[in-house]
């Protein structure tokens, strides 16, 4: 089943991870609805990671991250058409994933 059907409106989706100076592991759902895992290195809290793609209403968007440095923190956001759709953050917690997800509203 394809969640992106031609009758649905296209949306610009961006995953944005910021405020993490220690590097992190990210898992996200890409434009092909495939789950991608990456290790991201950062040298400072100003180093942001982002991934943008177009999707259609009803599609599932998913991004999840975990960092390794107990003294670090992270902010995970999903933007739809440049507006904040969902976000979550974590501080000094290397045990739990920070997951942000949902379906693009109709």
């Amino acid at each position: 089943m394809s969640a992106c059907e031609k009758f649905d409106e296209e949306k610009q989706v961006s995953y944005l991870i910021s405020n993490c100076e220690s590097g992190f592991n990210v898992t996200y759902r890409d434009k092909n609805r495939t789950l991608i895992k990456k290790d991201i290195s950062t040298s400072s809290a100003e180093d942001n990671w982002s991934y943008s793609f177009t999707c259609k209403q009803g599609d599932i968007v998913y991004v999840s991250a975990i960092y390794n440095d107990i003294s670090s923190e992270i902010n995970v956001q999903i933007l739809v058409d440049k507006k904040l759709f969902k976000q979550a953050s974590s501080k000094y917690d290397t045990l739990n994933f920070v997951t942000v997800s949902g379906t693009i509203p109709y």
Binding site: M1, F7, G58, S64, S101, Y106
Partner: protein, 786 residues
């Protein structure tokens, strides 16, 4: 031994002689005559002659001769109609054993030729109780664009509402596959959704319908298995004109409240050798507001196109091919766990109809069809999609045929034939756990390559004996079904439920008998008895855990279910008087054996898969339940252009021994037996009044309607139903026929903006609040004919 046999033969002989005398001992008067052209004095053939009150039809032969044999003495009205002549009405009186000879003169009226078209409808029905119908004109005037909702104007028909559209009919307490919903007397569609968000009736657009026939009871057995009644949707057919002619119809409809727009365009044409119809519809509606201003998520987007083309290789023989596709997009069902995301439906049929009109063989009909529904639904607009997004994809196919032959046997009419239906269904649900690491996805089967085949043979015999019409019908079905193993695994792939005993075979015998007798010119009585047997459907046999009932349970199919049988008795009394109006009172009693219901299964056997339900219910057979009720309708005569219709009806259903489950902390903790618990989803007493006035030679007809529904105090405790308050709503509409090209229908539904809900409306999902009906709706239909 020999004496016993002789006695039996003697009794049989007496019965036969008695029956023969009953048939032929009546006095026999005859009416015969000749129809001729008033100017040329030439005989006119093919004049249709109707004699009333018998309502018998004959046609003049090539010499203009006609005859009505074996008529009782009395007064009659003869109506003569012919395509090229003006209609003529003759009133006559005939005495006992008299033969009346008439010579009828008709005046030529050529202009009628241009207006004449033949629309081939279904074969004539010999139903022992009244066949109710809704014509295309009534459908056009209907304040509702949902076909099933228009049926509600008939007594003892209600609908189950789960969203803004696609309501599901309930007739005399029978619903879903207990009713035989057929298209053009033989085409079937298996809806995709297990929660019946797309019942078969929803796959046909109201603007493509010529007529809907409603045959209550298990009596009409020639359209397929019939348990509780038949709803036959007859689609518009291409016309057979004498000369090639085309016609275009365009309809534009607007409904306030939910900003509903609906467009229709059809082009039809042809001559006596070739004909076609092309039709398309598009509907887009938003959310509606209830009477107290609450907005209900009810948006819908539907469109469809269809075509039928046919030809007559020989006179009175027709071959036609139909094809249609319909689409549903983003249709909201706030009372279901999911909304319809997409629905793509294809329906193909090939039809042959041959009218032989010889001494024995009257007609042969053959129809073969294929329908396929691809249905996708999800919970993305539900609050619980924040944690689990569920997407279901279902494919349902139906293939079948129907062949029937219509014969004159003696003085009676015999129909026999065969039909076949093969349903296949496969569906999956993917659950995305979107807040868990690595986005785990669980795949569950809803149906796993399940199929049901039904082969049937049927016969129907009808004969008129003086004032009595007798009808007998029988049907034998061979029903077989299977599926892949019913299996449910957990996230680790370990089976939580396994049932490999999935095959079933049944041979079902159904029959019916009925009689109508004219006690006088004005009063007639009807009697019918029948037994309709239905094998369990796809959901009842093979569904794997979905919340599809009114109550909060996941339902589990049971391949070991037995067929249920409806043993029904009907009595009908009709009164017909030109000055006083027409009235019909009918009453019925149904004893349903092996009634298909459901019982709770302990969590140790299987756990529910839906977050908000309290447990699992598995389909089972109950020993018996019974239903009874009545219908009354009255149509006044037209007096000074004013007339009115009124009807009233009620059905009651009783389960003598029901099980109520005690719920605490969202779990089943006990049970108790309830004696004589009402059956679930039975509507309360209802009455409808329609009053109208005809202005300017019927060109303007304002109509006022009032619908009174009593509170439902007889609700099923076993199925967690609750009392429903009664209500009265009023509506108004006006039909204005400007000319032959333009007709305007406008009206207001629920004039006083009443906030109300029907007893059969489902609850808003995740709450105990019923789904309310729309508040005030102002609508307008513009109909253009070229």
């Amino acid at each position: 031994m020999f004496k016993k046999v002789n006695v039996k033969i003697l009794i049989l002989f007496c019965v036969i002689i008695g029956f023969h005398n009953l048939t032929y001992s009546q006095s026999a008067s005859n009416i015969k005559g000749k129809v001729v052209d008033i100017d040329s004095n030439k005989e006119i053939s093919d004049v249709t002659i109707i004699i009333n009150p018998d309502n018998t039809i004959t046609i003049s032969d090539k010499n203009g001769n006609f005859i009505f044999p074996e008529i009782n003495k009395g007064s009659y009205t003869l109506t003569f109609t012919h395509i090229s002549y003006s209609e003529k009405i003759e009133k006559i009186e005939i005495n006992e054993n008299e033969t009346l000879v008439l010579k009828i003169y008709l005046k030529r009226n050529i202009k009628n030729l241009n207006e004449f078209e033949i629309i081939k409808l279904s074969e004539k029905n010999n139903h022992p109780i009244k066949i109710e119908s809704i014509s295309k004109f009534e459908l056009l005037k209907s304040p509702n664009q949902d076909i099933a909702k228009t049926l509600q104007s008939k007594p003892n028909i209600s609908v189950i509402r789960k969203g803004g559209t696609n309501v599901d009919p309930v007739m005399r307490g029978f619903k879903s596959t207990q009713l035989n919903v057929t298209i053009d007397g033989g085409v079937r569609i298996e809806g995709g959704c297990p929660n019946r968000m797309d019942p078969a009736i929803s796959h046909v657009d109201i603007n493509d319908v010529e007529k809907i026939e409603i045959l209550k009871g298990p009596y009409a057995l020639k359209y397929g298995t019939n348990f509780g009644g038949v709803i036959n949707i007859i689609r518009k057919k291409p016309p057979n004109n004498f000369k090639f002619k085309t016609a275009v119809t365009a309809i534009k409809r607007f409904e306030s409240n939910w900003n509903g727009n609906k467009d229709h365009l059809s082009i039809k044409g042809g001559n006596k050798d070739f004909y076609f119809i092309l039709s398309g519809n598009k509907s887009k509606y938003g959310n509606y507001k209830t009477g107290d201003g609450e907005e209900i998520s009810s948006e819908l987007d539907k469109y469809n196109y269809s075509t039928t083309a046919g030809f007559s290789p020989f006179k009175n023989h027709d071959i036609s091919l139909s094809f249609g596709r319909s689409y549903g997009r983003n249709i909201s069902f706030p009372a279901l766990p999911m909304d319809e995301r997409t629905d793509d439906t294809k329906v193909y049929s090939l039809n042959y109809s041959g009218n032989f009109n010889n001494k024995t063989l009257k007609k042969i009909d053959f129809k073969v069809y294929h329908s396929e529904v691809d249905h996708v639904m999800d919970n993305k607009n539900r609050s619980f999609s924040d944690t689990v997004v569920a997407i279901s994809v279902i494919n349902a196919k139906n293939f079948g045929y129907r062949a029937s032959t219509d014969l004159n046997i003696g003085k009676g009419n015999l129909i026999f034939g065969t039909d076949f239906e093969n349903i296949t269904k496969d569906g999956d649900r993917d659950k995305y756990f979107i807040l868990q690491p690595n986005l785990p996805v669980k795949n569950e089967k809803l149906w796993d390559d399940a199929w049901i085949s039904n082969f049937g043979i049927f016969t129907e015999y009808s004969q008129k004996f003086n004032n009595t019409n007798l009808t007998f019908s029988m049907r034998l079905d061979r029903n077989t079904a299977s599926s892949n193993v019913l299996e449910l695994n957990n996230m680790m792939g370990i089976p939580m439920y396994l049932n490999s005993d999935v095959d079933s075979e049944f041979t079902n015998f159904s029959f019916s008998a009925g009689a109508n007798q004219n006690l006088s010119k004005e009063i007639s009585v009807g009697f019918a008895f029948g037994r309709g047997v239905r094998s369990p459907d796809m959901t009842e046999r093979y569904i794997i855990l979905l919340p599809i009932g009114y109550d909060d349970y996941d339902y589990l199919g049971n391949p070991e279910l037995l067929p249920e049988a409806n043993n029904e008795l009907d009595l009908e009394l009709k009164y017909k008087n030109e000055k006083r109006g027409n009235a019909i009172f009918s009453t019925f009693f149904s004893y349903v054996s092996d009634y298909i219901s459901a019982e709770s299964v302990p969590p140790s056997i299987i756990k529910p898969q839906t977050a908000w339900v309290v447990g699992v219910k598995k389909f089972i057979n109950l020993d018996y339940v019974y239903l009874y009720g009545f219908e009354f309708s009255y149509s006044s005569p037209l007096i000074n252009n004013f007339g009115f219709n009124v009807n009233a009806s009620i059905t009651k259903g009783i389960n003598p021994s029901a099980t109520k489950y005690i719920i605490e902390n969202n779990q089943v903790v006990g049970q108790e037996v309830l004696k004589n618990d009402p059956l679930q989803e039975i509507p309360p007493f209802e009455s409808n009044l329609i009053a109208y006035y005809k202005f300017f030679d019927n060109r303007i007809i304002p109509e006022f309607d009032l619908r009174l529904v009593a509170s439902q105090n007889n609700f099923s405790e076993a199925f967690e139903e609750q009392k429903t308050p009664g209500f009265i709503i009023a509506g108004f509409k006006c039909n204005f026929k400007y000319n032959d090209n333009l007709q305007i229908i406008t009206g207001v539904n629920n004039i006083f903006d009443k906030a109300y809900y029907e007893h059969l409306n489902r609850k808003i999902i995740g709450s105990s609040q019923a789904l309310y009906e729309p508040g005030r709706v102002v609508y307008i239909n513009l109909v253009f004919n070229i």
